[in-house]
């Protein structure tokens, strides 16, 4: 019954999307106010129905209803409830339903919360949102229905991939999807504005909080995913340039560029066409990511079952939406009036440089990600891995960090080169000092690591410079947001450079009681004992690590787990965090002589990477709150004045 209700809710939501599109389209064309007025409530109903459908799917998973194919394939009655719950989106169909639900909820959120935008543009925006949703509803009900029944029901489920049985599953995909799909709002805003030709500061100020919100979620989702991969995969790395990671990085790069260009549009009425373009590109990258991940053309941790019809379906959707938006852009951009001009040495100029560099990185990541797919289509199998991406994007990212140290110190409209040089003297000195210190302390370090640490030091100081000589209590919240986010980039960069430059690694066939050394640590495997979990059993290594004489030993307990459904072995890394880094241990197999494979890493300051990511997201959230309150106050003032 629940499955049928879920499917019905999904169909009804799709019908609402169709109605929403029809009301918006006809209402605007025929200038029928009744139709236009219906768009908001219909969008809200669509959001509620989609959420209901998704809620019912979660209920099916919680109840372990094995008469539903999807539950039988991906769940098991003996799983802890959290993984039954989160398992609802740990598979292709469920994750697509989550995707569409977020899309519908985004539309509902616009309908409820957006009051700044003029009515015609808002209506066109909601129409565009419904148009996107329709395609994905069709994809769900035709090619990947999550509610298909299994007759006769299975005795029990096949279980969830053990690597996904982790609290990370409850957090990472939904957060990422809120970001990914939240960018649809920017896309729909851009389409709406191209339809009504209302592009300007009002439009930019209306769009800005939505971009910030999506961007905050995207940042959190990527950061969480990176940490999850780091501790769950047991490879000791935090970013693998896996195509699916790139699929989340590309929308983030575009959204970051958009976030900065929309400020130029809001403050100075410049970069009109470019901002529209970025809004289209950002969500196009989200859809491209969905295509890459869900089509099964990639060999990846994230790709679920391979089904060619699904790939072609998403590819068609992709072509319709991106092609349609670009065609509209091509037709309308000529008539979007040019905005205000500006001097090249100015805040606007700095933001343009930011956008150029981000776009270049985006282009390189895009080429590196798609090249193997294109080559495969032409009959050649190849892969593009970390060496390519590090070598190409690294230097440009460092250039970007250098530019972002100076950018916020520039004045709007025009600035003097000498004045700028004065303002950046201290950060440059700090950067050079840090590089020299690093070079003296560890002469063999690569130039990228040295430059990275130096620039991180410079950016740390430069990011706080906008607060110099200001009354900190009266500094607007969005300025604080910028400061915190830029500081977060410096923190994260410092972590990346430190991890890359100073990590020590050991792989040993460990005998009990014998000491091994990694970095400053003395590590001993004392024994291996069996342990039991809810739905797994394991052997657990008892490893003690000491640093220097007389220090309290740390206990590490890396495990090899055996899950029965589905039958799988996994390694659970054991990680101990100290103020200056993390000690990371992975237990391998036992050999014939009774020795255990033990892989050890000492990773100085690696935690800064994710701490910085969290700071970046926090900065975005502060900006969002600051902007919303400022807009409210301005609206109120205007009303009072009238």
């Amino acid at each position: 019954m629940i499955a049928e209700a879920g499917l019905a809710a999904l169909w009804l939501a799709a019908a609402m999307a169709l109605l929403q599109l029809a009301c918006a389209g006809l209402g605007l064309r025929l200038k029928q106010d009744e139709l236009v007025a219906a768009v908001r409530p219909v969008a809200i109903v669509q959001g509620v129905l989609a959420a209901l459908s998704f809620g019912l799917l979660i209920l099916l998973f919680l109840q372990s209803d094995m008469s539903v194919l999807l539950v039988a394939q991906n769940s098991h009655s003996a799983k802890p409830w959290l993984y039954k719950f989160a398992g609802a989106w740990g598979n292709h169909e469920g994750s697509m339903l989550l995707w569409v639900t977020v899309l519908a909820l985004a539309g509902a959120a616009i309908a409820v919360l957006e009051h700044k935008l003029d009515r015609a543009t808002l209506t066109a925006t909601l129409g565009a949102q419904a148009f996107i949703a329709l395609g994905f509803y069709a994809f769900l009900v035709i090619a990947s229905s999550p509610f298909t029944r299994l007759d006769p029901p299975a005795l029990d489920g096949m279980g969830l991939n053990p690597l996904l049985q982790d609290p990370g599953l409850a957090f990472h995909p939904p957060t990422l999807y809120f970001g990914y799909v939240g960018l649809s709002i920017a896309f729909s805003f851009a389409v709406g504005a191209m339809v009504t030709r209302e592009v300007g500061p009002v439009f930019a100020r209306a769009m800005r909080p939505w971009i910030l919100g999506a961007w905050v979620f995207l940042t959190l989702g990527i950061t969480a995913g990176s940490y999850w991969a780091y501790y769950e995969l047991g490879w000791g790395g935090w970013w693998f340039w896996d195509p699916v990671e790139n699929a989340s990085l590309m929308p983030w790069l575009a959204a970051t560029a958009l976030l900065h260009s929309v400020n130029v549009l809001a403050a100075r009425d410049g970069l009109r066409a470019w901002t529209l373009m970025l809004a289209v590109v950002a969500f196009s990258m989200s859809m491209l990511g969905t295509f890459l991940v869900r089509s099964g053309i990639l060999t990846s941790v994230h790709a679920f079952a391979v089904d060619p019809t699904r790939g072609s379906f998403i590819l068609v959707l992709l072509a319709i939406y991106i092609g349609g938006a670009l065609a509209l852009y091509g037709a309308r951009v000529g008539r979007v009036k040019a905005g205000q001009g500006f001097d090249l040495l100015s805040r606007e100029g700095g933001l343009v440089l930011n956008n150029l560099l981000l776009s270049v990185i985006l282009g390189i990541v895009l080429i590196g990600t798609l090249y193997p797919i294109v080559a495969q289509a032409m009959g050649q199998q190849l892969s593009v891995g970390p060496p390519f991406f590090n070598k190409t994007t690294g230097p440009i990212a460092l250039l970007l960090v250098a530019a972002m140290s100076a950018g916020p110190l520039l004045r709007w409209r025009r600035d003097e080169a000498n004045a700028l040089l004065q303002r950046v003297t201290v950060p440059i000195a700090a950067a050079l000092l840090a590089m020299a210190a690093m070079f003296a302390a560890a002469p063999g370090t690569g130039w990228m690591e040295i430059a990275g640490l130096g620039l991180a030091a410079g950016l740390t100081i430069a990011s706080f410079a906008p607060l110099w000589k200001r009354n900190l209590l009266r500094t607007p919240l969005f300025t604080w947001g910028m400061v915190v986010a830029h500081f977060g980039v410096a923190v994260s960069l410092a972590g990346m450079a430190a991890d890359s430059a100073f990590t020590s690694e050991r792989l040993v066939a460990a005998r009990y009681g014998q000491p091994y050394y990694v970095g400053p640590w003395r590590v001993v495997l004392n024994g291996v004992a069996p342990v039991m979990g809810d739905n797994w059993s394991a052997v657990e290594g008892r490893v003690t690590a000491t640093r220097g004489e007389g220090s309290t030993p740390l206990l590490l307990t890396p495990q090899r787990r055996f899950y029965s459904s589905p039958p799988t072995d996994t390694a659970e890394a054991s990680i101990r965090t100290r103020a200056d880094g993390q000690l990371y241990a992975v237990l391998g197999a036992q050999d014939a002589e009774g020795r255990w494979q033990l892989r050890l890493w000492w990773k100085p300051f690696v935690t800064l990477i994710w701490f910085g990511g969290a700071l970046i997201a926090l900065g975005g959230a502060l900006s969002l709150i600051g902007r919303v309150f400022r807009e409210r106050r301005n609206t109120k003032r205007r009303e009072d004045a009238e």
Partner: protein, 144 residues
């Protein structure tokens, strides 16, 4: 600077950036892309020694051996037609086992063997590398 000139300048800067990025990306692709080989590919045209490649196939049943040092394994990657011996030093991925698919990243040595510095085994039971799925009857675990 006049508005027209500025637009021209920005346009040129954007073009230069895109051109530079493409040139950088394409030149890096030339020497960084790792080509994919199946064992039968290797039999017909052997890749150059010391060039980074990926070798994909099934881990042949009964071929997995643990070497004396305790951290190195040796096994045979096979498809229907050919076999390649592989060595790998490190902790093999969780889903790496005999009779399942594997993609080994590494290099061929002058002696003819393959030394992997990374092994990829898919983190999904239903997985088989698409390159191999074309060449092997796929075990449909769902039908069990």
């Amino acid at each position: 600077m006049k508005r027209k000139h500025q637009r021209l300048f920005l346009g040129l800067a954007a073009l230069a950036a895109i051109g530079g990025a493409s040139a950088l990306a394409l030149s890096a692709l030339q020497d960084q892309a790792a080509f994919f080989y199946t064992p039968s590919d290797v039999a017909t045209r052997k890749p150059d020694v010391d060039k980074a490649v990926r070798l994909g196939g099934m881990v042949e049943k009964g071929s997995l051996k643990h070497l004396k040092d305790g951290v190195t394994i040796a096994f045979v990657v096979a498809d229907k037609e050919a076999k390649v011996p592989v060595r790998f030093t490190g902790v093999a991925p969780d889903l790496f086992k005999e009779g399942s698919g594997v993609v080994a990243e590494g290099k061929f040595t002058a002696e003819g063997g393959f030394v992997a510095d990374n092994l990829l085994a898919k983190h999904d039971e239903r997985y088989m590398p698409p390159e191999i799925a074309d060449k092997m009857p796929s075990p449909d675990t769902l039908a069990k």
